[in-house]
Structures are given as structure tokens and as C-alpha cells.
Symmetry: C2
Subunit: 404 residues, 2 copies
């Protein structure tokens, strides 16, 4: 008789966004006249930029003609896209990454969930707290997280690194030595960033400890300050200890288009084994490449027109971020994030729990955000608002918040 | 110090298509004047059908307008596509499958590689021999296959079910009891099919043995005979013991578009746990949905125009299959497949090994096929040709083969 993967049964329910949905539905049923403004989920709202649409239409036409039709893509991605990424995202920034160290995928969620497969099941992971839940859940599914304690909301074999106001939402080096360290900067959910010096400390630590950093740079496009690194490979030695994950979701609005990539430098080795060859094997065995049309869309992100249009899109969202950040500050809230990231992280007022504040904001202002506790116990007492709405809605939401 | 997943190191090299590539390159370098015809890899060559192109252009336009832009897709797929699949691929065939039992994905390769994750690591798999390598390799990566013996080319913990001329390339029930049974009909690589009665025997066996059948129906569109089931859910009791994988690659030419789906009936339970909920959790945690544009393309597959155009495409390939099959028979080869599948499986003549025949065919006819031994030891002495080339090339290839 077959058996299931029992690790799945250890997972706590994933109720964050479903609970939000239910609460909003209940409120709307009671107050059908009220217009809800959603600044909760991290999904973009601006349409795709013209340069991207043009590239996609062209690629669709190519798929319709015998001479230009494309079947299976190269496992690791088309050269045209890998070259553009290597040049624009790395070499132009002085980071030594080559096209054949880039693995194109259908998004950073998949990559951040799948990357753990190439590591031993008895490796121990360290994560920030609060954290994007995929890192922990996918390790729990594999059996690497130990057991879940519903009281503390923590897994027995995970090293949690608190990110709180006291440390500027940047974790301190852990006391126990991890094997895999998940870092995400600019951070989801806190919106905080690290300086290059701060990140160098982590690279140096990983090399000393014999750990691999899995660096999620999904929000890199929102960096506005000078001393914030755009890639971990700006740090000396990162080629021997870090894997980087990137997404096209937030810089180019590809949440419904699906494109991302992972960088595995060839110098990253465990003894004689290059992690590059393991990840290549995983890609080749379990994946069949991102759609040609989507890879052409990705290439357009790096075109001259694409860059200009997408900078405007990021600027649009960052105006929202400033609006939220400044508006909340004016209203007396303690706020961080929103400078190098599209997320604003606010301290709930007057000892309210994150869910109490959620209810308060929904009932008094008709504004929906995300309770920080949904991202782990370290998020209790905090609340996330996102800059991905329309400017008009963002301004309206802040006016409502100011009034309560 | 972190460690890698040592199971990856047990995998034998994946040299089949790279060795073919090297041999072809060497031959071309020596004979630059010879025109090679490739009937080896299972990739399609016909451009996308007009109905699909139209749907994709429309969806691209939608992504470019604020009012119709789509961000994150529902984890399990858009309703419009799941409804079309449930109705056209199942309910119209009398198979009781509902839309919410369908999980849309970016292709059957990913699904067939990922599905093992929801099962226990100590489950034992059974596979046909020869077989599509992904089933075995992904279980080996997870640690479920035991150790690989380079002599026998077999894994110690895998149950191999020979598919040979003697059994009509349909496996007999295994002597040892497996937990997971991978079946693919119409079959890659042998091109063989099962009757509904034959498949019912497997469903009954799985229910008795407490096993799950993972049924890969990627080539279903090529079925031409009456008594061959289009889905395993045509068999009584399959809802309690079978998962079905489907692809849009071969019926609609989506190898470079990427779309597939998995069916997990809600009645398929291990004790109290529905596998549906485990797969839903995996999808929700590690996957972000297929692109909106691609899901609209998938919907067009089921439109009236799409059905007509794709039937023509399948007919085109099946004319190639007949050409190969009849041509080889006329030339004195022992041939199977090619009636309900786009693959023709031939016995190598005169005790040649599969690779010897590969060299022979390349050197004497300039035709490239796939050695059967690349699909497992049971494929030794066999050779696969595919119907996915152009008709002109297929005819030319057969003329050349007849001459040698």
C-alpha cells in the first residue's frame, strides 16, 4: 500500500489570504455601499509596457509561421535572454556573472521552492522572521524543517533570525550555524534594504561557516539609494557561496506572464561538485524551459524602449510608496520600508495585534492590507501595505487612514 | 558545512541526445554535402494553428490595457480553461471528472517530475522498460530508486516491466508489488497502445494492490482506433487509484508554448488524506500558475475552429506515421506503433545493436533516429522514428532507407 509524504501533514494551514478574503467578503456584504481599497496582496496592476507587448506580438507571429516556429526551448533558456541578463543585470554593474551561469525559469516562486532539492535533507536552514513563507514551507515539505509548534509558530529545525525595529529589520548573524541561509533584500514583507557592507558581512560569514546563501533579489528594481547592492555578486567572494534568484514580476509586471531566473556561479562547489551541474541536471530533468514568447518578452525588458518604459512603471509605484510612507508618518504611524522596496511596513498603533489592526483598518477606512503575523511570529505587531495599487486609490486610501 | 543531495551523484549521465548531436556533427563535418533528415527528437515542427494565434494576440492586447490586465493567475488554473478541459476531454467522453479536479501547469514534463513529491520516500515505483526517462530520474533524485547498476542499467529499487514484441509492448502485471505505477499510453517510445479492457486490468490491479497509477496520456490525440481509451477514467474505479497527466505539446504543438494539466480525482485517498489536497498544496506553495496568454491559447484548443485546425495537424503527422510504418514494412523491417501514436518502433535488423543501427542509418541514409537503448535496457535492439517532421522530409527519409 502506497504512502503519502507525511511532511505535508505537518504544514499549518495556509490561511493568510483566504482569511483576508473572507473578512473582506463579510464586510462588503454588510456594507455594500462602501468601496474597498486593496493595498494587501503583492500583485502589480499596471498593464505591460508597449515594448513588451510589441515583442510578444512579434513572437506570437513567429510561432505561426513554419520558418520561425520554435518548439522545445533550450533547457536553461535562450541565449538571447541569458546574454541580455548577464550583460545588463550583472556585467554592467561590475558583477562577474556569465550567461552560462544563468538559468531561465517561469518565476522566482518556483525557483525559490525548487532550489532546496539539490541540497541534502539533513541541511539546516536559516530564515529571516518575518519571511516570505515559500522558503520555509518548501523545506518543510521536503522534511528539512523538523516539526511545527503551533504555540510558537516555529519549526523545530529552522533557525529564525528576527528582523525587528531594533536591528533595522536586518538580521544579525545566527548563533547556531546554518547550512542554507535565505536572504531577501530589498525585503518582502518589511521593505527594508541592506547596504553593500552589511551584505558583505553575510557573504564573509557564509564562507567561514561553509553555508550557501540563497539570495532573493526579486525587488531589486525598486532600489533608489546609492549604497544598496543590486546583486549579491557585488560582494567579494559571493561567487563561491551564493545563489541568486531574480523575478520579472515586479520590475516588469510579469506576475501573470511568468519569468524569472536563478544564478549559480560555477565556482560554487561542495567539495568537487559544482552546484551549477546539479541545478542544470534538475532543470534538464524536471523542466522544459520558459515559453519562447515569454522569453522574447523578457528580452524586451532590456531593450532601450523597455528600460525607459519600465523605469516609468517603477517610478509610478514608488510614488505610491512615498505617498503611503509620508502619509502614514504624517498620521503619526511608525513606518519603515518604501524607499528601496514597494512595501511599507508599519508598527500597529496602541498594542494592537496585526489582525486587530487589519479589522480596524477595514472597518474604519475600508482599506485592506496584510497582517505582519502572516509572515511569521516576528511580524506580529506589524502590518504591510503595498505600492502596487493605482495612484488614485493609494491617495484615497491614505486620506481615509489619516481620518481615523 | 552544507551538503548536497547525494542522490544526484548516483544518476548516470544523460548522454542520449548529446551523443546523437555529436555523432551528427561529426558526420556533417565529414560530409558537408549530405543533407541530414532528423526523425529523432519528439519535437513538433508545424506552426501554431490560426485559432491559437488569434487567442494569443488577443490575450497579449488584454495584458496591455489597464482594464483587462491580469496579474497572478489562480494557482490551479483559470476557470475558463479548467471548464473547457473537464467538458471536452472528460465529460463528453463519459468520464466523470470535474473542473476542480484539474490542475493546470506549464507542461507534462514538470508534472511527471513533480508528482512523486506528494508520496513517501519509501514507496516503490514500477515503470515500463523501455520508458520516458523522467519518471525514473526524478524518483532517483528524490532517493526512491536505490542504487544504479551500470552493468544492467537498472536501479535496485525500481520494478521494471518489460515491454517487448512478445507482450505486444504492453507490460504484464509485476511480480513484486509496487506502490506507484507509471504507465504511458499511447506509449513513448514504443508507440503502442492499450485497449480499454487491458487498461481495466491495471486499474483493478492497482486497487487490489493499494497502488496509485500515474497515467501519462500525452499522446492521446493520436489515438485512431475505437477500443483504445482516451483517458484512464474511462475505466471503472480509476477515480480511486489513478492520477492522469496531459500535455498540450503534441495535440496542439505547444512544445515551445508550455501547457499541461494533471487530474487528481477527489476520491483518490490514502486513508483520510485526499491526494487532491496534497497536490493543491504543492501547486499553491511552489507554483504560480501558467501564463494568462498561454491559458487563453489552451482554451482556443477546445474552440470549434481550434478543434478543426488541430485535427488537421494531427492528421498531417499521422500521414507521416503511416508513411514511415508502411515504408519500413515494405523494406522488410519489423515495425510497431504509428497507428495510435506519432512514434514508430522498429526492430533493428540482423542483430545490430540500437547504436549500431543509428550509425548505419546515419551513414548510409543520412537519417537520424533515436536508439531504443536510450530509453532503458528493454529498448536494446529497437529504434524510434517520429512522425513530427515535414511530410516531404519523411517521404525522402523513407526513400533513402528503402535504398539501403
Amino acid at each position: 500500500m502506497y504512502k503519502i509524504n507525511e511532511n505535508y501533514l505537518k504544514l499549518p494551514g495556509s490561511y493568510l489570504f483566504s482569511t483576508i478574503g473572507k473578512k473582506v467578503a463579510a464586510y462588503t456584504a454588510e456594507h455594500p455601499e462602501k468601496q474597498i481599497i486593496r493595498l494587501g496582496i503583492g500583485d502589480v496592476t499596471q498593464p505591460l509596457a508597449p515594448a513588451i507587448l510589441e515583442a510578444m506580438h512579434k513572437a506570437v507571429d513567429e510561432m505561426g509561421a513554419a520558418g520561425t516556429f520554435r518548439g522545445y526551448a533550450p533547457d536553461l533558456g535562450y541565449e538571447f535572454l541569458r546574454n541580455a541578463i548577464a550583460e545588463c543585470d550583472y556585467q554592467q554593474r561590475g558583477a562577474d556573472i556569465q550567461a552560462d551561469e544563468i538559468f531561465v525559469s517561469d518565476g522566482a516562486k518556483c525557483d525559490s521552492g525548487n532550489i532546496q532539492e539539490i541540497f541534502s535533507l539533513d541541511n539546516r536552514i536559516a530564515v529571516c522572521d518575518p519571511v516570505y513563507p515559500v522558503y520555509v514551507d518548501t523545506n518543510a515539505m521536503a522534511g528539512r524543517a523538523g516539526n511545527y509548534d503551533p504555540e510558537t509558530e516555529m519549526w523545530s529545525n529552522v533557525i529564525y533570525m528576527p528582523c525587528l525595529a531594533e536591528n533595522g529589520f536586518v538580521p544579525e548573524l545566527p548563533k547556531k550555524t546554518p547550512d542554507l541561509i535565505y536572504l531577501c533584500f530589498p525585503n518582502n514583507p518589511t521593505g527594508s534594504a541592506v547596504t553593500k557592507d552589511q551584505l558583505q558581512v553575510w557573504v564573509d560569514y557564509a564562507r567561514r561557516a561553509g553555508a550557501v546563501i540563497i539570495y532573493d533579489a526579486a525587488y531589486e528594481a525598486y532600489i533608489s539609494e546609492e549604497n544598496v547592492p543590486h546583486t549579491i555578486y557585488e560582494c567579494a567572494g559571493a561567487r563561491t557561496c551564493a545563489i541568486e534568484l531574480k523575478s520579472f514580476s515586479k520590475n516588469a509586471g510579469f506576475t501573470g506572464v511568468r519569468l524569472g531566473y536563478t544564478v549559480v556561479p560555477k565556482e560554487l562547489k561542495c567539495g568537487e561538485t559544482a552546484l551549477h551541474s546539479l541545478w542544470a541536471r534538475r532543470h534538464g530533468t524536471k523542466y522544459n524551459g520558459a515559453p519562447y514568447i515569454v522569453q522574447r518578452a523578457g528580452e524586451a525588458v532590456y531593450s532601450e524602449a523597455g528600460r525607459i518604459q519600465l523605469k516609468e512603471q517603477v517610478d509610478y509605484y514608488m510614488r505610491n510608496a512615498r505617498t503611503i510612507r509620508e502619509g502614514l508618518k504624517d498620521a503619526g504611524y511608525t513606518v519603515s520600508g518604501g524607499v528601496n522596496a514597494p512595501y511599507i511596513w508599519l508598527k500597529t498603533p496602541g498594542q494592537m495585534t496585526a489582525w486587530e489592526f487589519f479589522d480596524h483598518l477595514l472597518e474604519e477606512a475600508g482599506v485592506v492590507g496584510t497582517p505582519g503575523s502572516g509572515f511569521g511570529p516576528g511580524g506580529e505587531g506589524y502590518f504591510r501595505l503595498t505600492a502596487f495599487g493605482s495612484y488614485e486609490n493609494t491617495v484615497a486610501a491614505l486620506e481615509r487612514i489619516r481620518k481615523i
